[in-house]
């Protein structure tokens, strides 16, 4: 079962990898976006880490709802409301349960992804974060490792696509040949699930309270 600690580790692992990969995300965002994806997400997840430490939410749902709210208010770019909605809706779908199973997480995450699709109007193949998230959620039943592989594959598969949403869509065919930064950061979020799982075995969060 996955408790609030697992979800906190998930978010702090995401924050760490966003921080590590921020320059790469911004570089991906330079040819087809406005070159702020890495710095925006870094700021957002730094605020998330601070808020989780300060408020210490006690349930998986509360961890994700707090995270979502922080992202919406601190990111400053489109990824804020998109990731914020993803995690907040996922958190709401988890309800008040003190622990949830992996299948509940998969189901809740699907609710979150659906909310993102509704908010941004993006469908699979539009060269967005959806292209990493949908295959990841589909693969989640086979474990976090499978979800990670699916997300990374989905992100890489955005390279030949024509962007249909956001600023990149103004570029038309010139958006072809670039991996989508949003799909890339979405793969980081999914990758952090496996890290959070490993963290519980290694006791990496010892003294984290």
């Amino acid at each position: 079962m996955l408790d609030a600690d697992f979800f906190r580790r998930w978010m702090t692992a995401t924050a760490a990898s966003v921080d590590r990969e921020a320059d790469r995300l911004t570089a991906l965002d330079s040819p087809i976006g406005d070159a702020d994806h890495g710095s925006n997400l870094r700021r957002g997840f730094a605020a998330v880490t601070a808020a989780l430490e300060k408020e210490a939410p006690r349930t998986p749902g509360a961890v994700l709802i707090l995270t979502g709210r922080q992202l919406i208010s601190t990111v400053g770019g489109a990824s804020g409301p998109l990731y914020g909605t993803l995690l907040r809706r996922t958190g709401k779908a988890l309800g008040d349960a003190p622990e949830v199973g992996p299948e509940q997480l998969a189901e809740a995450l699907r609710t979150g992804v659906d909310a993102v699709r509704q908010l941004g109007g993006a469908a699979p193949g539009d060269k967005t974060m959806i292209d990493a998230l949908v295959p990841a959620v589909d693969a989640l039943g086979d474990g976090f490792g499978a979800a990670l592989a699916a997300a990374e594959q989905g992100a890489e598969a955005t390279t030949p696509l024509l962007a249909r949403k956001g600023r990149a869509s103004y570029l038309g065919e010139r958006s072809i040949g670039h991996q989508d930064p949003g799909a890339t950061s979405a793969a980081l979020l999914i990758a952090a699930l496996a890290e959070a799982e490993a963290g519980s075995d290694a006791g990496a969060d010892a003294g984290g309270e």
Binding site: D34, D36, N40, R69, I72, S73, G76, G77, A78, S79, G80, P81, L82, G84, T85, R88, A115, L119, G120, G166, R167
Partner: protein, 136 residues
């Protein structure tokens, strides 16, 4: 309208200067009517280009007179941030609505209509009708 409370207007742009200028322009075109509560929410809190949920929420609270608030946005994160805040449920005043309208023309139509004491539905409709104004 049962009293003289006016609909509030919030203008959300990626740029603080754009939001403030459009607010000024729209209010300038009202003429001699009552002063419509209009608040710009432009850029990030740090003064850069982007959207600040905090500035949007503060602007909506500032223009709320109890008759509803119409929010106009430019593009991208401005649209998504307002939609996400509306979905949240408690971040914006009751009766806040996002308007699907062109930013400048919609703002002028909304503010001028609000100055007549029109209700939120009429203000939103006037702003949305701005899409129908062809220039060529």
């Amino acid at each position: 309208m049962s009293d003289d409370r006016l609909v509030g207007i919030v203008l959300v742009s990626h740029s603080a200067a754009v939001a403030a200028s459009v607010a000024e322009l729209a209010q300038g075109l009202v003429g001699g009517g009552p002063e419509v509560p209009v608040a710009p929410a432009g850029g990030t809190e740090g003064g850069g280009f982007g959207t600040s949920a905090e500035l949007v929420a503060a602007a909506a609270a500032a223009v709320d007179r109890g008759a509803g608030v119409a929010v106009l946005t430019d593009l991208g994160s401005a649209v998504l941030t307002v939609k996400a805040l509306l979905a949240e449920g408690d971040e914006l005043p009751d009766g806040t609505r996002m308007v699907d309208a062109p930013f400048v023309e919609g703002a002028v139509a909304a503010v001028v209509t609000a100055a007549t004491g029109a209700d939120l539905d009429a203000v939103v409709a006037a702003a949305e009708e701005a899409y129908g104004y062809r220039k060529a």
